[in-house]
């Protein structure tokens, strides 16, 4: 019921232009360097409270936000569904009211339902960061992917980006699509028709492929997405071995992309299903760097949201 005043949220990439995106990347770049030299400024978020509200299991994203918050000096509290009152029948909005009353400054939420962070943001004064909602968006993942690409290729425009795998169920694919479109790159979406909604064909600068060989040709970046085991049981893909045979990223297919093309994966990886170990561990792989940039990007997001809030 409390109308949020001066709240700045990061609910999704959709609608953000280069002017909104680039400042996050620039600040994250500097935080990456400071983190490497162990000089992260612990006073930036001192006295601020960050709550990680995770309705879905995620060790890596939660840990990344936790480290980001702590590196800037925030008090970080992790709430997971297993121990919270959500299991006792409390609604999402009641949980929001409760946390709001505790006067937290930043609320990082992951939820299995698309739109849940947007709903929550209507009810709290804290800045809400979407850490992944259903099949909708995962904005910090798109920002960290963009930062990783920019560090290696020097730009985010006029690139050929291939995103391979389970596009249909992927919030990572959607956020990356919005971001890379906004920055002026072209996106190839590659996957079997059951995992690649034809509706994406109407999006600007997007081409759909059902063949890795065609889609990877001369790509600057190859992003693999995790394929969930339950997709096999749901009748969307016949088997892991068929999936790897037709859509797995191996050395032979990677060779069709531009020389030195980046290999990316949001993790956790299924080695031998969507990506061959030889590729994941190759010099072209920037998967570990994505994780490192994840912390830097989240530091930048937390910092900027609070600054935007106090400036408003």
């Amino acid at each position: 019921m409390t109308p949020q005043r001066h709240s700045a949220h990061l609910l999704g990439i959709e609608g953000m232009g280069p002017q909104a995106i680039i400042p996050f990347l620039d600040l994250a770049e500097s935080y990456a360097l400071l983190s490497r030299s162990r000089q992260a400024p612990h006073n930036v978020l001192r006295g601020r409270t960050l709550i990680n509200l995770f309705f879905e299991d995620s060790t890596r994203t939660r840990t990344s936000f936790e480290i980001a918050g702590k590196r800037l000096g925030a008090d970080v509290i992790n709430m997971t569904v297993a121990t919270s009152s959500v299991n006792k029948g409390e609604t999402l909005l009641d949980t929001a009211s409760t946390l709001n009353a505790m006067r937290c400054d930043l609320l990082v939420i992951r939820h299995a339902q698309s739109g849940a962070p947007a709903l929550l943001s209507q009810k709290v004064e804290a800045s809400v960061v979407n850490a992944g909602d259903g099949m909708h968006e995962h904005p910090t993942q798109a920002l960290l992917d963009a930062l990783t690409i920019r560090r290696h290729l020097g730009r985010l425009d006029n690139l050929e980006i291939a995103i391979c795998g389970d596009i249909a169920h992927s919030r990572v694919a959607r956020s990356n699509l919005h971001l890379l479109q906004a920055m002026g790159s072209r996106i190839r979406l590659i996957g079997p028709p059951t995992l690649l909604p034809s509706a994406f064909a109407s999006a600007k600068n997007v081409t759909l492929y059902h063949s890795m060989e065609e889609g990877l040709k001369d790509a600057d970046v190859v992003m693999c997405l995790r394929i969930q085991r339950e997709r096999m049981g749901a009748g969307l893909v016949p088997s892991e071995r068929e999936y790897f045979a037709l859509f797995g990223l191996d050395q032979r297919r990677l060779a069709l992309a531009k020389p030195g093309a980046l290999v990316m994966h949001p993790g956790p990886m299924n080695r031998g299903v969507e990506v061959a170990s030889t590729v994941a561990d190759s010099p072209q792989s920037v998967i570990s760097e994505q994780v490192e940039m994840g912390v830097a990007v989240r530091m930048a997001v937390l910092d900027r949201l609070l600054r935007m809030r106090s400036a408003a």
Binding site: E14, S114, G115, A118, L119, G134, H136, P197, A199, F200
Partner: protein, 431 residues
């Protein structure tokens, strides 16, 4: 709200679709029934209502209404639903049986009829369950339900996946001459979905229902209707694919009919952007080409009636992430005004809302013939007003039309010649 012995309506534009009348006229009501059209012959001293040029038409007949009673009275009761109905000019409504408990026994049918009478506002016609508990398994006691007063049979918003079972239900219904009202949506294709498949649902990351799920079920049930000779009626048709099939079936002479509801010809799926749960309906809102097809089918007569498809929901049902929120919107108060937006001639619009649904249900309503029960709606077709969620009569607030400006306002509603609604906002201006 006394019951005058005799009322004379003067200075009205009388529209009676069943007789194709649309003319300046008068109307006389005696002992709750229409007795003539010449108010000069009436004795002095009786009540005279000056319509000031407004339209007087039969009270609307709404053939698809969900009320929370029994089982979910926090959403809407028969009483609060009846208040919303008369504010929308509705004097007869058929209520769905998928309540808690479902209306699947003769005593429950009688209960609903009695509760309707107790409101003293509207004529309430209960649908009987097609299957026990509307669960889609065993056949309900259609014959006994019909004897108790069930107007037609349906499982509400549930569609039956098993073709053989549907064939048996339709075959059985035939000797009862019962109308079977279906929610056409292929259930396995629609399972878990909440938005029409397409770029918007993909962008929002919402589980999808292909628009074809409707046509697919219509196709199957048309085949079964042809096999069995049953009277099949498809509710809230929302896609061009389904309309094409129904058009062809009508041309072949099948006894098939259909209705739609205002959201499907006045709105598109764009309304669910930003996860707006008040626009989450079942079937889900469609893309523009389907909306246009529904509007066209209203004009060319393929759609037989317009119903409100009123589904009351409480704040707790709607203030949830989109996929978890309850589907449905209120529609009683806005039925007439939103249907006028289809832009049809007034006579045709009112036919879809009065005599046509009355004929489908086989009820004596929706007419201004001499001798008919004086269920009347007096409305100003030019008066504008804006829909505000939470400010409409009725308990539920979940109108999908929040903020929409409507041209056409109900001024007074009469049931059996008794005034059951008067627009309070007009007392100063009109009188």
């Amino acid at each position: 709200m006394n019951t005058p012995h005799m009322i004379a309506f003067k200075n009205i534009r009388l529209i009676d679709p069943i007789s194709n009348r649309d003319e300046k006229s008068e109307l006389v009501v005696q002992n709750g029934r229409i007795t003539g059209y010449n108010a000069h012959e009436v004795p002095k001293g009786i009540s005279v209502i000056d319509g000031k040029g407004a339209v007087l038409c039969p009270g609307l007949v709404d053939m698809r209404v969900s009320l929370g009673e029994p089982g979910a009275e926090y959403r809407e009761t028969i009483e609060s639903g009846a208040q919303a109905a008369v504010a929308g000019g509705i004097t007869s409504m058929a209520v769905l049986p998928d309540t808690e408990p479902a209306i699947d026994t003769p005593s429950l049918v009688r209960l609903i009829r009695q509760r309707g009478q107790e409101t003293g506002l509207v004529s309430l016609y209960p649908y009987g369950a097609l299957t026990r508990n509307c669960a889609g398994q065993e056949m309900a006691e259609m014959g006994l339900l019909k004897q108790a007063g069930a107007i037609a049979f349906t499982d509400g918003a549930r569609s039956l996946g098993d073709a053989k079972q549907m064939r048996n239900l339709l075959a059985y219904s035939r000797f009862l001459k019962a109308l079977i009202v279906l929610h056409p949506e292929e259930p396995s294709l629609a399972r878990g979905g909440c938005a029409t498949a397409g770029p918007l649902a993909v962008k929002l990351g919402l589980p999808q229902i292909p628009a074809q799920a409707e046509a697919m079920m219509v196709a199957r049930d048309l085949c079964l209707a042809e096999m069995t000779g049953a009277r099949v009626h498809f509710a809230h048709i929302s896609t061009s694919g389904a309309l094409d099939l129904i058009r062809t079936a009508k041309q072949k002479g099948l006894s098939v009919t259909c209705d739609t509801a205002p959201p499907y010809f006045t709105m598109t799926e764009d309304a669910i952007g930003d996860f707006r749960t008040y626009a989450k309906l079942s079937p889900p809102l469609r893309q523009e080409k389907d909306r246009a097809a529904v509007q066209e089918a209203l004009a060319d007569g393929i759609i037989d009636a317009v119903a409100s498809d009123h589904v009351p929901a409480d704040a707790d049902d709607k203030r949830l992430p989109f996929a978890q929120a309850m589907a449905g919107g209120t529609g009683l108060v806005t039925l007439l005004g939103m249907t006028l937006k289809a832009g049809l001639p007034l006579l045709d619009t009112l036919r879809l809302l009065t005599s046509a649904p009355a004929k489908l249900l086989g009820i004596e309503a929706g007419t201004l013939s001499v001798g008919a029960q004086a269920d009347l709606c007096l409305f100003d077709p030019d008066m504008q007003w804006t829909v505000r969620a939470g400010r409409l009569p009725g308990r539920a607030r979940n109108t999908p039309f929040d903020g929409v400006t409507i041209k056409g306002k109900v001024l007074r509603t009469f049931q059996s010649g008794r005034e059951v609604y008067r627009d309070d906002s007009l007392c100063g201006k009109q009188a």
